[in-house]
Symmetry: C2
Subunit: 276 residues, 2 copies
């Protein structure tokens, strides 16, 4: 593992690392923010999963999260959104292939060889983080759009693993919206039953263990009606008594300006559960 960049920010360290992923069979890059020491115990880890077309740097440079993470004493880990490199299959579209891994394990060619972002994020990357950095055992996860989908799926499929989950404008029902239908058809094939394992609405319906869940959604988000549909997850949550807070934010769109506006709320929400 090799550090490729390091900057001081809010008295902590923003670093960028390159490593060879055995799960993804390619070189990967991730970013990490290490806060100044705030507590006697090693800091908990909050994973951020980005949306379509992003890499590890979008949240790192645009969200303004380090200020609050430094204050609270939380490590932020920002992975990439897909496997990378010349050997990795790709597609010309922005919503399939590189930059659009959808945080799942692909089963169809040409994707299955490298597109295993779920295993990478569940096992390989956290092991790497724990072995190279001084971090506590507690973890939470959040993300944006495709990454909100990824964060919810990761939390729902691994009960007890995360203390809390949150999302900005997540794709909550990918099995039934155009972005998800396109990606799942390619990565998983046409058997829609197999898609349910990667769909937050379906996973929550069948989940036993609940965890605190926060979702912010801009009301002026161009993708709200066609792709995001947070009311579907809210309906599942309501039927189950799931501790989901869905906040509709008037005037906000799908951009990082929206994320920057509410990232402090999300960090404080996670801190409440990471330090309780």
């Amino acid at each position: 593992m090799e550090m490729v960049e390091e900057h001081r920010i809010f008295a902590g360290q923003q670093q960028r690392w390159r490593h060879t992923s055995s799960v993804l069979q390619c070189e990967m890059t991730f970013s990490i923010f290490i806060p100044p020491a705030r507590h006697d115990a090693p800091p908990p880890v909050l994973y951020w999963l980005s949306g379509l077309t992003c890499n590890d740097e979008n949240f790192t440079t645009k969200a303004g999260a380090q200020r609050v993470a430094a204050e609270l004493g939380i490590v932020l880990v920002m992975p990439d959104t897909s496997p990378r490199g010349d050997a990795v299959a790709d597609d010309d579209a922005y919503d399939l292939g590189k930059g659009a891994g959808f945080y799942l394990n692909a089963t169809r060619e040409p994707w299955a060889a490298h597109y295993r972002m779920y295993d990478y994020l569940r096992d390989e990357l956290p092991a790497l983080i724990r072995s190279h950095f001084t971090v506590g055992e507690r973890e939470s996860i959040f993300g944006h759009s495709m990454g909100g989908h990824g964060a919810l799926v990761m939390a729902l499929r691994n009960p007890g693993r995360f203390r809390s989950v949150s999302a900005f404008a997540p794709i909550v029902n990918p099995a039934a919206v155009p972005w998800g239908e396109k990606a799942f058809s390619a990565y998983l094939g046409d058997d829609r039953a197999a898609w349910q394992a990667w769909d937050s609405c379906a996973l929550m319906e069948n989940a036993d263990a609940m965890l605190p869940t926060l979702i912010d959604q801009g009301e002026s988000d161009n993708f709200l009606e066609g792709q995001l549909k947070p009311e579907r997850l809210a309906a599942v949550a309501k039927a189950k008594g799931w501790p989901l807070e869905l906040r509709m934010q008037p005037g906000y769109d799908h951009s990082y300006y929206f994320i920057a506006s509410f990232v402090e709320d999300h960090l404080r929400f996670h801190a409440q559960h990471l330090f309780s």
Copy 2:
């Protein structure tokens, strides 16, 4: 004047505008943050001047300034760093031509036709802002690196115009460092006497009217010794009793991670003078 982008952020509006500049003889783009209404009086304006290679979006997306500007009720205006377009002279180097206007009025060809950023920023852009937006009369100015030079020069050449000036890692003595020598030779010619009108150290030495001045400088900035040399301006300030605070920040580099870490201090510094 045409709005090309608009996003809600921290309950304010982040907008991007395109207009034809008669001073620069080309199309220009600027960004503006309009805070939510905080006071009865129209909000004051704080101009941000960016550094080499930047445009109006670097500070807009990376500095995290809108959060504090929204709280304080300050309009932020982010201009571009040079004239733009196919008709405008350019150079292959990153530190001359487009993206490197040095906030002066060029007198030598091929630059003189379009490179008049000083006049654009002193007169044309503020008049445009005042005619299209509801803003108060009070103004302050700040910037980074080449833009820190620009902010200081603008304040020093226009006594009484700005309430306060601040800078991150400014080029304070361009007439005597490589970046400035290269740019001034090209834009102004070889007569070094003419350079003094665009050099903060020289301008401060000859200034009568003082204004509150804050400079932050990272001690791990790669350009500190070769290009920035803030101690030279601090020496001039000390000799004159100028109200300059120079803060050396251990571990910080030249990047927006440094700017983001201290931008709140700068906004509160300017607010203190804009609202007093």
